[in-house]
Subunit: 385 residues, 2 copies
Amino acid sequence: MREVAILGIGQVPVGEHWDKRLVELAGDAVFAALEDAQIKRVEALYVGNMMAGQLDKQSHLGALIADWVGFRGIEAMTVEAACGSGSLALRTAMIAVGSGLISSALAVGVEKMTDTSPRETTAALATAASADWEAIHGVTFVGLNALIMRRYMYEYGWQHHDFAPFSINAHANGALNPNARFQSPITENVYKKAAMIADPINLMDASAIGDGAAAVIVVPADLIKGQNEKPVVRIAGSSVATDSLAVHDRHDPLWLSAAEKSSREAYRQAGVGPEDIDFFELHDAFSIMAALSLEACGFAERGQGPRLALDGEITRQGRVPISTMGGLKARGHPVGATGMYQIVEAVQQLRGEAGPAQIDGAKVGMTQNIGGSGATIITHILKTE
Amino acid sequence: MREVAILGIGQVPVGEHWDKRLVELAGDAVFAALEDAQIKRVEALYVGNMMAGQLDKQSHLGALIADWVGFRGIEAMTVEAACGSGSLALRTAMIAVGSGLISSALAVGVEKMTDTSPRETTAALATAASADWEAIHGVTFVGLNALIMRRYMYEYGWQHHDFAPFSINAHANGALNPNARFQSPITENVYKKAAMIADPINLMDASAIGDGAAAVIVVPADLIKGQNEKPVVRIAGSSVATDSLAVHDRHDPLWLSAAEKSSREAYRQAGVGPEDIDFFELHDAFSIMAALSLEACGFAERGQGPRLALDGEITRQGRVPISTMGGLKARGHPVGATGMYQIVEAVQQLRGEAGPAQIDGAKVGMTQNIGGSGATIITHILKTE
């Protein structure tokens, strides 16, 4: 497979876009990516989305968005693996371009979640879990994560306030990102006093839903030179691994085996290890997920994710900066778009375009997007020279 | 891209499978494909499905089905373009294997539509149309096709009974297919007396929904020899094209421009033309769609699709046999699975395994799967030696 690079990026701020339809959000991100790439046309469009059929009563987003952005006729489709849909759109585009079949592709992640009632949105989100063994009992996604976090605290002896640095770091970085849903830093006191949602997960442990769209344009890496003065960002590693949908069915509910497997494969492809990663855009849908990702990807020992955070190693000045533009916690988590925001933000960092959130001299960035409570995990490693 | 071939096929009969969950249907098709291919393992799984999130309250089918069939951990995801989802799973698998990244992949199409009320199922189907310009007015899919058929009859001077041969041919062939939902031939009298659904579409013009699953295993073509005594079936052409979701927005609502575009590209790739096609599994969701596909793919002049049928050229003895195993009309139309049934049936024909429905000496088969009322159209050409 030929090597693939990212030529352009685009995003809309995450928020409650009651004035825009889903296709308009997607279009705005696409137009920004086209302008950034300085190209007029692509051959294919891959959409990452989870819930448009349920919440917008609109399936078939591929043809819809292709037409809206002026590319009526091109190849288009949607890819889905719950909250992991966004980065799967990138992987699908990468393989299509890498195969030689397609010369340029758009990957766009989009989700519109705030036009429906919280009850409808929560029910739609629950379809990412096992309908037969989890959702049927009424457990929501935050409920499932609360069960995992409670068990984790019991097994490894952590207190709730030990997770505070994850939330504080995300909000500190989100304050520097004009596209983040929340742009105010929080204090430890705010974390401690936040309302409980599903004990032990409080409001500051949970990411917020939102409306959003982000897009990238991918082309063969050897064609990129001369087209764009910006640093070339190559996709050096890309891997997907899966696990059981139902948490209880896993060998160890406190270990993200799909994160371990997909990060190992991505490291192998990129020829790097955890020590070479300059920043890590992980899937901090809940604080506990940030801890589990850091452990499964080799940044912390088993059960010691919170230690890394307490030691300040996850900040922009630390050993492994995470959620550098706010993460899911502060940038927001428009489900099918989230994985694409991670990619777009990683490219911003690698190009030196992250503004006040910039990680100095970042050359190797990793992103990790999680579908469900760990059942589909997609890791990408991006590199610049 | 390296050439890709189909090593194994599997299917379950289309029907009302009230005793099986969606994952079980998918699993049964996968197990049959694995047994047919005589292999134990694949590297990736691509699922074609449209409505599981809406009707089964279950998204995230990739990881779910991978786990169910014993492949926990492998790469997996869902692809969707409404009723075109099934064949997109094949195309995604083909590109992944063709790229060299994946050595063997499963593509499975699955849909479960009969556990919900007709109202729920009809509403879910309508998400394939434009939510903003079509579904919002309450028009169903059969309603949209009725508008197209009425206009077609007006423009080209056809009477309703001129479409009878499409339905009669499909049911005659379905009677020879043990996996078809309807296995009884019909007469012209049955067609004429069928209840009207949305004038001019009557019950015999419309395909039936159903529960179903079909699967194929794809591998590099050069690896297939020696693994299986069955004839090697290569994917010689594969192309996707799109159009506007809303019918009124097309230059000509009576011309499937995406079918023309994708069939032309598939012909080019395979080095063949319409005259070389031994049989054509087209998307006869409604009689009018069969006529429009035949025209757009070069088998009939514009407005003359029904003439081909009236002349008997679409039967198994005709110039371009269609719906050779019953088509959507008689085999049934379990939406996200339909495109995969077409592929599986084409492989049966090319291997000489179609039983009493066999087209003698078939070497080149074409399939065409349509999403929505023509907005996403996927054409494949399969060849055997």
